[in-house]
């Protein structure tokens, strides 16, 4: 690799944040190079410094707290850190552009998107209105937006999330940059849309010879699209190499742990997920020596020393003092024996929860003019039926807007169904009043997605967990409540002393454990888990899933597990239901559904889900599902999936397919099966 090919070279970068609580050393001694036309992925968990290091390249660190204290950022032979603000501004957008995570908020809502694409062209390339417009049309068609002429004058709210991300990419590409930095570009998008966007970015990078730095926590994304990978942990790069090196021969225990702690669609389902125990260190006061040592299963005395990032084989570096032993296969080979997931026995007998013909329509008023509006319905949940046996886990998957969360809220009776029955232990709870519901509420509990907003910030952990105990008189007095709180905290893997803390003093994973303890305090029989792990880091996800499974075994709990991550759902669920636009598409035993999906939508979902293994990923043809998810305000006629389905014909447009049992226990709503 000739040196002239190197586009960006980061050398020994140190970024510090000065806060009122001390100095956070957010990036320490990070060095890497990006060559022209190459895709580099920076992987790590939240707070590891991956975003900060790339913001430093753009010189967009939050001032005055954040500063680069040491290092060089050489871009085409110029140190970006030495440039004046004016010179830097010229490069931003023209030579280097950035794509952010949130397509919903990174476009200005009051400007038409055409203007937003043309703006950098006016500023950097001094184009005329006409030239810029022509270029904008060209860019929009490049990123796969149809009818670009007309769409130029539309506003961001007229675009869906995936479309907005395409617009963001178009803006990024506008001035033919040499480098694009994409910070979690697809995290906010649905699986099928994510695949479209990544496919597009990879193709563009190849076609236009643009170097791409993708910052992500999703290992599957990395395996499919990256040429080289940097793994970061606690402000440092701990492993770097080609994608094959890092995925197939990881040489740092953290990277090894990360690979193993994600449930995978291409492997048999294990009984238990392997996890990295513990939490990442606090960067205000990082530990001496190897920063991963506290969580490392191969920790030895030597790990009290600071490990350097050293080459183990050409181009493959690891910052582990025992990397040679790992490479030689002396340690790390012996994987903890994973017992295969037990055969799930069908549970006959009484159903705990049974939902039939559930519907929820929200009435919305849509403005059609200044003084006119029409009332219409959003059919959030349309004719959904399933039942759950005691001790079973039913997984509910689907993309955003498919109504899976609404189903959960209806069962919790946070919403009242428009139609249909929800039977809990034989009693229909769909129309009960507040007083009659009270005893049942105790039996059906909930765990929410966002551990940051699901706990009242003004109450201590102890108060939060003790509240239901005292309200329902589960314990006689405050002293007994305190004892029970301690037991519950220990049951979810926390410590009794944490009862004194406030939620903001805890990490995301710890808060999610508190949420679980609060649900358990009521002694429920059924828990609705609404995306309980999707806001957590990979290594923490595994811990929470294992905790949920242990609790289920110990307490005989029944779960309705709502999630969009197919691999996580497969791991935990006995049976899985797939929803699309308010309707149920397929319901089957978990293993059967993944081994042999019958509905075309389920197949597309499984195809779109990336697998963290480059050899598998690169051999898989790109089979992305085209099109957008239609608006639930105007769902397509007949089968709601027909607009994106490859098998669809006229019959699909006309008839709504009934959900029917195709094989024993395998229900599908498709005319073509």
């Amino acid at each position: 690799m000739s040196d002239s090919n190197v586009l960006l070279s980061v050398e020994d970068l140190h970024v510090h944040f000065v806060t009122s609580r001390g100095v956070v050393r957010a990036v320490e001694g990070v060095s890497y190079q990006v060559r022209r036309g190459e895709v580099l992925a920076i992987v790590g968990e939240s707070g590891c410094g991956k975003s900060v290091s790339s913001l430093a390249i753009m010189r967009l660190l939050a001032k005055p707290a954040g500063r680069v204290v040491h290092g060089k950022i050489m871009f085409e032979g110029v140190n970006l850190l030495d440039l004046t603000d004016e010179e830097m501004r010229e490069r931003r957008g023209r030579d280097i552009s950035m794509i952010f995570q949130e397509p919903m908020t990174s476009l200005n809502p009051v400007l038409p998107i055409g203007l937003q694409i043309m703006e950098p062209l006016f500023i950097h390339l001094k184009m005329t209105e006409e030239q810029a417009r022509a270029r904008a049309v060209e860019l929009l068609s490049l990123v796969g937006i149809t009818d670009p002429e007309r769409r130029l004058d539309q506003y961001p709210h007229q675009f869906s999330g995936g479309m907005r991300q395409r617009v963001m990419i178009a803006i990024g590409l506008a001035c033919n940059p040499k480098l694009i930095i994409a910070d979690e570009p697809t995290t906010a998008l649905d699986v099928t849309i994510q695949a479209q966007i990544l496919e597009l970015m990879k193709e563009l990078s190849r076609k236009l010879n643009i170097a791409l730095v993708i910052i992500t926590h999703n290992l599957g994304v990395v395996a499919r699209y990256a040429d080289r990978v940097n793994v970061m942990y606690a402000a440092r790069v701990v492993e770097k190499g080609t994608a094959d090196d890092v995925f197939l021969r990881p040489r740092h225990p953290y990277a090894m742990g990360l690979m193993r702690s994600v449930p995978r669609l291409d492997r048999p389902r294990g009984a238990k997920l392997e996890t990295i125990e513990g939490l990442p260190p606090n960067l205000l006061d990082p530990p001496k020596g190897c920063r991963f040592a506290a969580r490392c299963q191969f920790r030895a005395d030597i790990c009290a020393q600071d490990p350097a990032l050293e080459e183990i084989e050409p181009g493959h570096l690891s910052a582990c003092l025992r990397a040679k032993e790992i490479a030689a296969g002396e340690i790390g080979r012996e994987q903890t024996v994973i017992e295969a997931g037990g055969k799930r026995e069908g549970r006959a007998g009484e159903k705990l929860l049974s939902v039939t013909g559930l519907k929820k329509f929200f009435e919305v008023t849509r403005k059609t003019g200044t003084f006119s509006s029409v009332k219409s319905e959003v059919r959030a949940v349309n004719d959904v039926s399933f039942d759950i046996s005691p001790g079973e886990t039913l997984g509910l998957v689907g993309e955003s807007g498919c109504g899976k969360t609404t189903v959960g809220r209806l069962i919790l009776r946070l919403e009242t169904p428009t139609e249909g029955a929800i039977k809990f232990k034989g009693q229909d709870i769909s129309k009960l009043g507040a007083a009659e519901l009270r005893p049942i509420r105790r039996k059906i509990q909930v765990i929410f997605q966002d551990p940051y907003s699901s706990l009242n910030p003004r109450m201590t952990i102890g108060q939060i967990i003790a509240e239901p105990l005292l309200v329902y008189k589960i314990v006689p007095d405050a002293a007994a409540a305190k004892k029970r709180v301690a037991e519950l905290l220990e049951a979810v893997g926390l410590f009794a002393y944490m009862a004194e803390r406030y939620p903001h003093e805890m990490s995301g994973g710890q808060r999610q454990r508190v949420g679980i303890a609060r649900a358990l305090a009521m002694e429920p029989e059924c828990i609705v888990c609404d995306e309980p792990v999707s806001a957590l880091d990979v290594s923490i996800q595994g811990q929470i899933i294992n905790l949920l499974e242990n609790l289920q075994k110990r307490l005989g709990l029944t779960y309705l597990f709502i999630a969009h991550d197919l691999a996580v759902v497969r791991h935990i669920s006995d049976r899985v239901a797939v929803m699309y636009l308010g309707r149920m598409m397929e319901l089957a035993d978990g293993d059967a559904l993944y081994a042999e999906p019958l509905h075309p939508y389920t197949k597309a979902l499984l195809d779109a889900a990336p697998i963290p293994d480059p050899s598998i990923e690169k051999s898989r043809a790109a089979r992305t599902l085209g099109g957008e998810i239609p608006s639930p305000l105007r769902p397509p006629s007949g089968c709601v999936f027909h607009t994106r389905c490859l098998l669809a014909d006229d019959a699909c447009k006309a008839t709504i397919p009934e959900i029917r049992e195709v094989k024993p226990g395998h229900l599908v709503a498709c005319l073509k099966v």
Binding site: D12, H14, H16, V18, T19, S20, R21, G22, V23, E28, G29, A65, V69, H70, G71, R236, Q305, D306, P307, A308, L309, E310, R409, L412, R413, L414, L437, R438, P439, R441, R442, I444, Q445, V446, F448, Q449, D450, S453, S454, L455, N456, P457, R458, M459, E467, P468, V471, G515, R518, M522
Partner: protein
Amino acid sequence: MAGAVSQPNVTYAAPKRRSALAMFCLAQPLGAVSGVAILIMLFGGVFADFVAPYDPLTIDFGAMLAPPSWEHWMGTDAFGRDIFSRVIYGARTALTIGFFASLFGCVSGAMIGVASAYFGGRVDMVVQRFIDVMLSFPIIVLALVVVAMLGRNLLGGIDINLVFAIAIPIVPKVARVVRSAALSIREMPYIDAARAAGFGHMRIILRHMVPNVAAPFLIMFTAFIAQAILLEASLSFLGLGVTEPTPAWGLMLSGNASDFYREAPWMILFPGLAISVAVFAFNLFGDSLRDWLDPKFKV
């Protein structure tokens, strides 16, 4: 150690452990100054009996309309009463009425606002239209109507009905602001969790929603003390508030003061200054409190 991660040669002063008060003073110097002004007023008002050099009611015809001097720092009025002492006692009147009127107005407004947001739907609709009606009256007119309707009702030297008259125009304003804060809190998952737990409405409102609107409440409470002081002064000036001979700033501006202000400008200068400083101090303090409590301004 060879090759380990390099450490740049930068040192930082150890972070000083500062108290919350010290942090506030550093980040909000104006707030700190206004806080001190409020404390001085509070001290003067509470310990007026010891601080004031003269009795505020004693008439001394020997010292009528005396200009400011070492004996009478702010001069005397047409009855020879010491203006400095009357301004100090006036602080007691202003702060008492201001505090209780703002407290009453803000607490009732907050309760209405939170309940309106929590129940939503028709309840919210009715409450909000009622608030619209209330807001369409000029604040002083509304207070005048209430004073005229209720008459006087002295309790421990304070006119309770005057407190009500000043508090009532505050209620709809606070209800509006608190409602919008409560609306966003209502959508938080922890409120859903409380509902899913089957807790009663009162518990959810008092235990889960009210503490979370405490920040906007506190800010409005301080700001409305200023409004209440101003309103009390206006009503007293118009002869509908505090009555003679009770020392009150608004009252000191009316009556004889308007006859003699050419010969004795100190008669209106000092009470007027007192009103301005008090209102300014509470407003500034409220502003700094808002910035301080807003997480966006935290480093």
